[in-house]
Symmetry: C2
């Protein structure tokens, strides 16, 4: 089905409200799911809504709980998400952390007990638009094998970085796995082959057979492994949350979500020296206008393509799989209008 | 020639002292070069000493200058390295930043006008041994092409992360390029082929011909490019230093070194909640003892192999190429004893 983004967002919000979620958290969660659809990350899009609802019903998510923010120093907070929705907790935390960064130059929040954050890009993009440099990371279930290993022991641990720039901020948002578990599951359903380098079998050898895959590979070999593990340790050290195989609750409906999240904000205005070189924006423009690989399209800066997809989908609407639509309908048939 | 590490360090120190470098900065610079040799990173080892000396002679390095540290907030410093030796400036900055992190939970230093930092691992390892989480990054000359691009526009921008753990801290230290320019230059000399994925030709296509290579590739494709660029922007934004092709002075003897460096330290003790999961150290041990890829050796954690190499070389001595020895001898023949 094709549905306008605003309408999809309204429906998602009303589905959540029907589960007892207050208007504000329902609106934030709905926006985060639809932004992921707009930017071309359906794995963080509306297909997660049924899980969000089931987690509320099973009591492992407390969508109306207020996060408890404790500033152990003026620049450092530990946050108990109180089982709240990830976007609701992190958006609140981002606003507070931004305020502290403006005061102290830098601020950090170490969050535990919040549900799946969803699209990381949106948090750091909003912060970068407000003039702040932002670094955000979080931990997932252990799905990735160590470089040279055969067992899934590290999360897909994404990293997001937002840097103020004109006309648009720089927005990096990437998992440290070579692919997502969603793609492997999809290949299992359709019988398609995996790309070489995406996953390993039980002997730790790269496999293109989705049924034989037991762990995702880190992107970029030893370096991607090292980066993903570093992020897991940063989060584990600062939030005292679960690590490795002990992590639960971002992929299922019944487990408490026990991973942590870490946000660092820096206000460049509290540090700046007179610019001595090319500005960040001019540098990014030079990259965009540099010579592309022979036969390829223009060179992109992280964030460009997602922004372009969003522009297109705001015009053309979201194309959602019929099966997803049926699933959303099943959540609360009274709320769904016929989109056709 | 084979030479004991302590002796190599003493010789390097004396070569620097003969150039007018005071005992303390000479000792720090010498230690940084020899640590790189010990850990198996000769590109950051004694082969850099002739360049360090030439830069002092040409006046673009001021080895006895004192860095000027300005705390714009209690947790944020801008540092003018005053043209000092990289390890001398950064070690000083690391100690001050660590102290501020202990007070305020987190602290950041944005450094400009310091020479090449050398081995990043050593700074973050020392900080992690002192109980601090440390993130350090710096920028190099533009040697890496954007993903999908054909021009060298991004630095090899390394990232180092230290995390306290027992029995040894976690130490990540990696460039965001797939290989080093040193390896490409070496392949040009010997006529050896490059590995596929290391570099591209003028059309932006992967090449194994070292003579045709015009830019290093980022590690891990689009994600490695995004990471390297994010680091360049973080440094550029916070230090107002040069970006991209404007960066000079880490590979030559005549240019002022105009890149920046950024260090963030966090004191987990100012944040910790009661641990709820497996501890970081136990998690790392579990990874080390996990199932390796069929036929491979044990799984390693970043820092393990460098530590093992260091142990071996402290016993067996450093094997330096004869040509390097001759070069060091030429710097100051009076100081060099026959190592045999």
């Amino acid at each position: 089905v094709n549905i306008a983004a605003a309408r999809a967002e309204g429906l998602a919000r009303r589905i959540l409200e029907a589960e007892g979620v207050a208007a504000e958290p329902a609106g934030i969660q709905a926006r985060w799911l639809v932004e992921a659809e707009l930017r071309g990350h359906p794995s963080h899009g509306l297909q997660r809504l049924p899980m969000v609802v089931q987690r509320i019903r099973s009591g492992v998510s407390s969508p109306n709980a207020a996060p408890v923010v404790s500033w152990s120093t003026p620049a450092c907070a530990t946050v108990d998400g109180a089982g709240g929705l990830g976007p609701v907790v992190m958006r609140h935390v981002a606003a507070l952390t931004a305020g502290r960064a403006r005061e102290h130059g830098i601020a950090l929040a170490a969050v535990s007990n919040a549900n799946h954050l969803g699209l990381l890009a949106l948090y750091v993009e909003e912060l970068a638009r407000d003039g702040l440099l932002a670094i955000l990371t979080t931990v997932s279930e252990a799905l990735v094998h160590p470089h040279g290993g055969a067992e899934a022991l590290v999360g897909t641990n994404p990293l997001a970085v937002g840097v103020p720039a004109e006309p648009e901020p720089f927005v990096l948002d990437m998992a440290t796995s070579a692919t997502s578990m969603g793609r492997v599951l999809n290949a299992r359903r359709t019988g398609a082959a995996l790309q070489d380098g995406w996953a390993v079998d039980a002997a730790g050898r790269s496999t293109t057979d989705a049924d034989a895959a037991v762990a995702l590979s880190p992107f970029g070999g030893a370096k991607g492994y090292a980066l993903g593990l570093a992020l897991e340790l940063i989060v584990g050290t600062l939030t005292a949350s679960a690590l490795g195989r002990a992590v639960t609750g971002t992929l299922d409906a019944e487990s408490v979500c026990n991973k942590g999240d870490v946000l660092i904000c820096v206000d460049p205005g509290r540090l700046a020296q007179p610019p001595r070189g090319e500005s960040v924006s001019a540098y990014l423009e030079a990259i965009r206008h540099s010579l592309p690989t022979d036969g390829e399209g223009p060179v992109a800066v992280p964030g460009d393509r997602a922004r372009e997809r969003k522009r297109r989908r705001l015009d053309a609407g979201l194309d959602l799989p019929d099966s997803l639509w049926a699933e959303l309908e099943a959540l609360n048939p009274n709320l769904m209008e016929n989109p056709a």
